[in-house]
Symmetry: C2
Subunit: 244 residues, 2 copies
DNA sequence: CGGGGGTTTGAGTCCGTTCAAAATACGTGG
DNA sequence: CCACGTATTTTGAACGGACTCAAACCCCCG
């Protein structure tokens, strides 16, 4: 399915299935056609970098299919996975808006198709349609808020609860509901990366996962995860007994 | 000193000593006079709230003197101190730009003077001078970057090192250099709040502080802190021996 | 069949937390 | 100016979570 939409979106941004859910939805038909003509679509293999920290920002990217990850590292080389990008998400807009070098790196998590929009093309559209700038302002404000929430969670929750929260967020994005009300999904990340998202070692995450299985909160096998009572996920924090 | 500048800034934004360092620097003389006429300046006592989470955003604020804190709390009531604001900083612009309710709360840390700019006044200035919007875009992007850095540090550093980093940042902002090259300053925060900034309990911070004193990195007494070798602060992470 | 990456498990240690109590600083009213 | 009550900070002991290091395990791929 992800395959087919990737191909159909390759034809034109007008018929892109994510158009109405992305920042580009404020563009009219002519502007969208302009975008479509000037964008470049390309496949990425799993793990392939999209851009790297410190590079100049030549343009922005738009996910068509697959998933990508935002990573950032500090001076000592410690890195953290900050965010996961799904089809319809734009990335790298910050560097372009501010004419800055990239402050984080992005890479494809699985086989993905990503469109590239050149800086001049983006600038032209921003000039033609002021609502587009407003969209990106809204977007950056939302990102900001997410980052702050993340910060508050990190300060107050233990690793187990941070992971439960992450699971909840991932489920909302990519999960499927089964007939019995339970939810399951294919995790887009390795255990190592899951651990990096909550700021823990992979060994610790491994133990947390065992614990969640013992408690009956979820079942893991490979990258597949089943959650028995997805609605009570957030209530299960610090209180596994609530599972009934 | 902070007192006098507060009073002089009370007269007009034109003569505000922070003007050239704030987002308002792109305004011309007439626009600044307009801002000056329509802003309201007011004193806050220590601990007094400036605005609270969930309130509608009626306008934005500009610190004249003193310091303020941004706090955010999650659903369970856990809070974290996200940021400290110094004279010249604007706050609360996000809610105004996006017509949203406040997503965090702000409060004065010590006796402070803060100007309030009504939403319509701000919108008028944004219309008149597009460079102002660009300034705030830059500002939000910088904030975003800081939040991400914070996230990476939280994921990889132990509490001691997080605190050393915080100390470094605070010093750069409000520290004074003594004749022997050491630096000292008056901390704007209580121990509890310092602990909240690095996501630790106040007891833990207390122990960290004792340790730093034993190691000879810094000396604390009340809210005053002396750092012996400020330049090597960041090198001291995990390696107190480097102090020589 | 033998790597090699990713993942799990185990043991030991350290760091940070919790809870409780003492010590210190601070503001207020006498 | 001092005494008092309150809030903040420090200290202590015990516990638990998370980390390190090391080894075993698994699964996919050549």
């Amino acid at each position: 399915m992800a395959r087919r939409c990737g191909e159909s979106s390759g034809v034109s941004c007008l018929s892109c299935q994510w158009r109405q859910h992305s920042e580009w939805r404020v563009l009219n038909e002519e502007e969208t056609r302009f975008l479509s003509r000037n964008r470049k679509s390309r496949e990425y293999r799993a793990g392939e970098p999209i851009f790297a920290m410190g590079e100049p920002s030549h343009g922005l990217y738009c996910m068509i299919s697959g998933t990508a990850a935002i990573r950032k590292s500090d001076a000592e080389g410690n890195t953290a996975l900050l965010r996961i990008l799904y089809p319809g998400d734009t990335l790298g807009y910050r560097g372009v808006l501010l004419e800055e070098k990239r402050r984080y790196s992005a890479e494809a998590l699985g086989p993905s198709r990503v469109c590239f929009i050149d800086k001049p093309v983006f600038k032209t559209l921003l000039d033609r349609n002021p609502a587009l700038g407003q969209q990106f302002l809204r977007r950056i404000a939302k990102d900001m808020d997410e980052a702050h929430d993340h910060l508050v969670r990190n300060a107050n929750l233990c690793n187990r609860d941070k992971f439960v929260h992450l699971l909840h967020a991932l489920m909302n994005r990519g999960g499927c509901t089964a007939t019995d009300g339970s939810r399951f999904m294919e995790l887009p990340l390795s255990r190592r990366d899951l651990a990096s998202m909550i700021g823990a070692r992979h060994e610790t995450l491994s133990r947390i996962i065992s614990r969640l299985e013992e408690e009956g909160v979820a079942r893991f096998s490979g990258r597949t995860v089943h959650v028995r009572k997805p609605h009570s996920l957030l209530q299960v924090m610090q209180h596994p007994a609530l599972l009934d």
